[in-house]
Symmetry: C2
Subunit: 332 residues, 2 copies
């Protein structure tokens, strides 16, 4: 594989890396805060600058006039409208109907071939080519951080869906009665509205503040207003009643969400990751146990569950490898 | 397209057809009851006889010694173990670990190329090539009859999953509290245990017998012990309270099941069919309405819902077309 460049444009960080080998090792990498100016034009310029620097500094130098275009894959925290990289909306970037792929291609020109992907899809592909799902053809990856996102690989190919929205597992409904929790998406009863980090953190703060919880988590955190999901997880591991009750309520919700998706997908590997799950091993273990009860046996038979391995590099690696696989398009 | 033969080996009927055109029109077709003798050897012989007759009677006659093998696709009501057509288990046929694909290839020899598929996958493929999902690349098909089965087409290809078990939507959980209904699969709270025909018919009989229901459905059916789901559906359409209450309980369960699968798959076409849904238009309409409330808007945007069009021919057409597409393997 020759040089490929990956970009991970998240809600906070712009990460980038140059990749040459088949694996996941980055030959050069870069990270900067996105900051306040999130106008598409400004970000396109900044990303292009990063790409050009990485292409120049990577061993062998940048592409010459006669070389094949360098693949550039960009994973973006957005809902895409089409495979050309039009962003339908990105709450994180404040974008709506931005022809991001076209703008990047115009700015980078014919020396580079640009592919734009949903960031969770890029992360999923990264884990599949070089991480926790290496060698697997059927993969479900679920990331629980502030929100909940998912990516699917079916028969060796990334599942895009009809409008590049496949893998919206955070908005799977786990409750549909009148008391189902409202979700930022406008719906109710989404699993994200129970297990997603931003909702869960608020609930933890509220319950701790209301002193319904004389919980070990407060001792572990040092102060009531510092308690987060990681402290709750440690308290649950120590047998704290409130923490265990909370995890016992949430673990089946996430487990059923996973089991129901797996019943449809029949994946061989379930990859779990994200800022919340990577800091809550007790919760993960309870989700895993519940999954083995609720998933149909023929679905469980081929399945292994693994934590994501590539961490913050997954999106960069995955986007670069997707672009290198020929899905990127050169600029004018 | 040259001659291809499709077989649909269900729980009751053995259907077969010869297909030559690209569409779904059968040039010859055949149906017989499977009957009591369901031993694999006996059925392999009977199917081979049907195949040979169809190949001989189809315009142009059977294949000669120098012709390419005739594709034979067989959809079977079974859980498969591998793409070669080993049946892991089929409750309908009473089979367990039967090398059905190998037996068919040995029996039919090199003049035929045999592909074995899950029957619901074959039906789904039939609707996609010649029925309600013509031209669609991302399809979810859900059939509610005695049980509930599903098939998925993702990016234009049938989704097999890791062990040919993808689409097990009947065993998606819609309840996971202590009172979740037991399902024949050994699990609890499966949507099939609420909406699947065999469970629903039992419940209808029970509630009608208990005279909890002074329902119009009894008048429509002619007698209390004749009330089935179609009568309940008509009663619901007439505003019958008991019938409406039952449909209002079940419709959201099926709608949430569909919405949650679609949130992961982002399909452009949802095909609904099966013996129960084809006779319950009021229920279908209530499921459709509920789906539009619970599915995330970006998932609804590209989606159209359609009833299955090919009826009993879908499995024969789909199996033939799958085999003709090159997934079939010639015998020794």
């Amino acid at each position: 594989m020759s040089l490929a460049i990956g970009i991970d444009l998240g809600g906070t960080n712009l990460r980038a890396g140059a990749l040459r080998a088949e694996g996941g090792a980055l030959e050069a990498s870069h990270r900067e805060l996105i900051g306040e100016d999130r106008a598409a034009g400004a970000l396109v310029d900044r990303i292009a600058g990063v790409v050009e620097r990485l292409a120049g500094s990577a061993a062998g130098g940048g592409p010459g006039a006669n070389d094949a275009p360098v693949p550039v894959g960009i994973g973006v925290a957005a809902m895409l409208r089409d495979p050309r990289g039009t962003v339908a909306r990105s709450p994180h970037l404040g974008w709506r109907d931005v022809p991001f792929g076209r703008l990047m291609r115009e700015r980078l020109g014919p020396r580079f071939a640009v592919g734009v992907y949903n960031d969770v899809n890029a992360v999923t592909w990264g884990e599949a080519v070089a991480g926790a799902a290496r060698g697997c053809r059927d993969v479900l990856a679920v990331y629980v951080g502030t929100g909940i996102g998912g990516g699917v690989i079916a028969g060796g190919a990334l599942l895009d869906g009809a409008t590049c929205c496949a893998g919206e597992i955070g908005h799977v409904k786990v409750r549909w009665d009148d008391s189902a929790a409202p979700c930022n998406c406008g719906g109710r009863g989404c699993v994200e509205a129970y297990v997603g980090g931003s909702y869960l953190d608020r609930r933890i703060r509220r319950e701790v503040a209301a002193e319904r919880a004389r919980t070990q988590a407060i001792r572990i955190a040092g102060a009531p207003d510092r308690v987060n999901a990681a402290h709750v997880d440690q308290a649950a591991a120590e047998g704290d009643e409130w923490a265990l009750a909370l995890w016992r309520e949430l673990a089946p919700m996430l487990a059923v969400t996973l089991a129901n998706a797996l019943a449809v997908l029949n994946s061989e590997r379930l990859v779990l990751g994200g800022g919340l799950l990577s800091r809550t091993p007790t919760l993960v273990s309870m989700v895993d146990s519940a999954l083995r009860i609720v998933a149909p046996p023929p679905i469980l038979e081929p399945l292994t569950v693994a934590m994501a391995e590539l961490g913050d590099d997954a999106g960069v690696v995955g986007a670069a490898r997707l672009a290198a696989a020929g899905t990127a398009v050169a600029g004018p």
